[in-house]
Symmetry: C2
Subunit: 403 residues, 2 copies
């Protein structure tokens, strides 16, 4: 007998038909003799509807009251799912975040889980109940409702799996698993049977929005086996687990990120400490800098380039312009029409030819590389936005073969 | 400086405009230097929508899960009202039943308040916050959400007023107060400035659905002064308070109740214990018997008549038919087309002519009285349904005068 945690997102419980579909999945798992803890998000557009209602009243409402409002969303979906499971004739109980023992930090709107005390969940499991827990929420030290922010329900599920030593944590979503590339863009993209935590983390960071990063980090830390799968097709999904348990794949996925802008400061005097000065000023303005590239100097100057999320570009340019004035660099150039395309694979650590193969595929497709950045298991290139889809297809064909 | 509890029903917070109207009432009360605790119901049709959603999934859903679902309703209205008050620039905090210290019995769907521990409310008031509390809900000893059943928010408000020794508990509703008769039926009906708890209780029982009975009982027990008033017209309402503080009115109101059916067992043998046998069997079937009348016997038999709510008529007839078979009475007759019309007034205790005046007004209007029942402060008559509105007007004219 195993303990299985199953998490269902908002689209999976969007209406009565979908709720019964979830009830069917849950009760079939229970019927096989498993203990089942279910984590649900709010139904479909509930959260958006709540936000709209709140904005109509007060666009600057406090985050405390927003959390009070939003946390009603999972309360509704959890109780409705419980009613569907009752209808199918199974013992079930729904629990709110605070009932399930979720203690969080006090930051309303993006609280972090500090502790899960699953006494009540255990008691209900001992009574042979299927236990439904509202995702995305908890209470802080003031006994106030908090929400975990984006992707919070994934994290709720993994946290329960971790603290209860679950055998498996299934994240049901609207895709069938983790693919080698975005299947809407690359028809030949393949579903992966298995992927490591680190690869999943790199892919998540790179914009393949299958799993929330915090949840993968937590799964890695507590060594919880995750399965990403669809609530609609009922086929096995992708297992996310510890690397040592699996054969390393050369590359496991290709991801594209359009939320990126490139900024370059041209003609920075070649003096020590200037790079530090720029990036500490950017950090002070809370600008997230991603890829950084410093050219080898021509004459006595050098060029410093970096990428930032699009929303932070104006702030970054402002910082750079001040820098140019004070430190006598030449000028600042920027480009919003860029994309970051990355390949991720634990196998590349031991296979030196991966980067070369990637660059070759881009060369063959006549795509110019603007910047390159590498980590142990990831290679990212910055290219023109217009080339991005072509690049993903070209790289995919190179590594995974054409049909 | 006073502590004022203000309760707003679902229609008072049905939409954004109404919510701001309530926010205006609350903040004006606060601006006068009062401490304010606000109790809200769920918005307009929210509860009905939730019930519909639940029925679509499982018409036999457990009451525990229904309470989990329904209690989200006040959570939504409370947080939205808080946001509106924030928008007006006032310090505010919304609290759920469990946060506000509402401990209830375990009966889901119609829990009773066992204890209110208002530590959190006090703390927030000390911080100069306007405190909004979700009505209608609490938690039971299992830490599960419970709802108080029909009219529960009134009871929540009075409970807070009682435990915090509030100076006044205002129940805002969609009528301007308590009237001498239903103003939709009797144009000359007058709003009462003041009414006693006992009179209010009799009127509530008799179908003048202004205040929930449980809340009036609680207000009486803890001697909390209530004011029933409209959230829309902003004029003084009706004060409900202890009788000794007020001049006794001869009669304070006339009420009509259509939810009544009359059943008679004809020809019951005149033996001791038979009446007891009928009514104990009815009680066992959970039939609420209201007015009971036993005729003085003709020959060696008598007739026993009583009234029941319409929904219990079939059950009652079934019990009576069995009784007739076993005990050899003649037969059972019943009438659904009846109404109970009652007058209530603390003054009638000391004014013997009240009943006679009432009967005279009915005689003048050519209305036949089928049954009569009296208590210290109430006289009820059972008449044909078709005569009911005419009867209310006739009695009203007699006691309150024609224009």
């Amino acid at each position: 007998m195993s303990l299985i945690v199953q998490k269902f997102g908002g689209t999976s419980v969007a209406n009565t038909e979908r709720i019964f579909n979830v009830a069917d999945i849950v009760t079939k798992t229970y019927e096989k003799g498993n203990d089942v803890v279910v984590v649900v998000s709010a139904q479909g557009d509930t959260t958006d509807e709540f936000i709209e209602k709140a904005n109509e009243i007060n666009p600057n409402a406090s985050k405390r009251e927003m959390d009070m409002l939003l946390s009603a969303g999972e309360q509704i979906s959890a109780s409705l799912l419980a009613m569907a499971i009752e209808k199918l004739g199974f013992p079930v109980v729904s629990l709110l975040g605070w009932q399930a023992g979720f203690s969080t930090s006090s930051t309303y709107g993006s609280a972090r889980i500090k502790r899960v005390t699953p006494d009540r969940i255990r008691k209900e499991i001992d009574k042979k109940n299927i236990v439904i827990v509202t995702g995305f929420q908890g209470v802080n030290k003031y006994d106030d409702m908090t929400t975990l922010g984006r992707g919070g329900s994934d994290t709720s599920a993994v946290a329960i799996a971790a603290v209860m030593h679950a055998d498996l944590c299934q994240i049901f979503t609207d895709v069938e698993g983790v693919f080698t590339a975005d299947p809407r863009k690359v028809p030949k993209a393949r579903k992966l049977d298995v992927i490591s935590y680190d690869e999943m983390l790199e892919l998540a960071t790179l914009g393949a929005q299958v799993l929330n990063n915090r949840s993968v980090e937590m799964a890695k830390k507590y060594n919880i086996e995750l399965e990403v799968l669809s609530s609609l097709t009922r086929v096995p999904g992708t297992i996310v687990k510890e690397e040592s348990k699996m054969e390393k794949m050369l590359i496991s996925g290709i991801a594209k990120d359009n939320d990126v802008a490139r900024i370059s400061i041209i003609g920075v005097p070649d003096k020590p400490g200037l790079a530090f000065r720029i990036f500490s000023k950017l950090a002070a303005k809370k600008v997230n800098v991603d890829v950084i590239l410093q050219s080898v100097g021509r004459d006595s100057t050098k060029d410093i380039s970096f990428t930032v999320p699009q929303s932070m570009m104006q702030d970054a340019i402002h910082v750079c312009n001040s820098f140019v004035e004070v430190n006598g660099a030449m000028h600042v150039v920027y480009d919003e029409n860029v994309s970051k395309v990355s390949i991720v694979g634990a196998g590349m650590e031991t296979h030196p030819g991966v980067a070369a193969t990637m660059f070759e595929s881009l060369f063959d497709a006549d795509i110019n590389i603007q910047m390159i950045s590498t980590s142990e298991i990831k290679i990212s290139v910055l290219i023109a936005r217009d080339d991005a889809d072509k690049a993903v297809t070209a790289i995919h064909n190179k590594f995974f073969g054409e049909d």
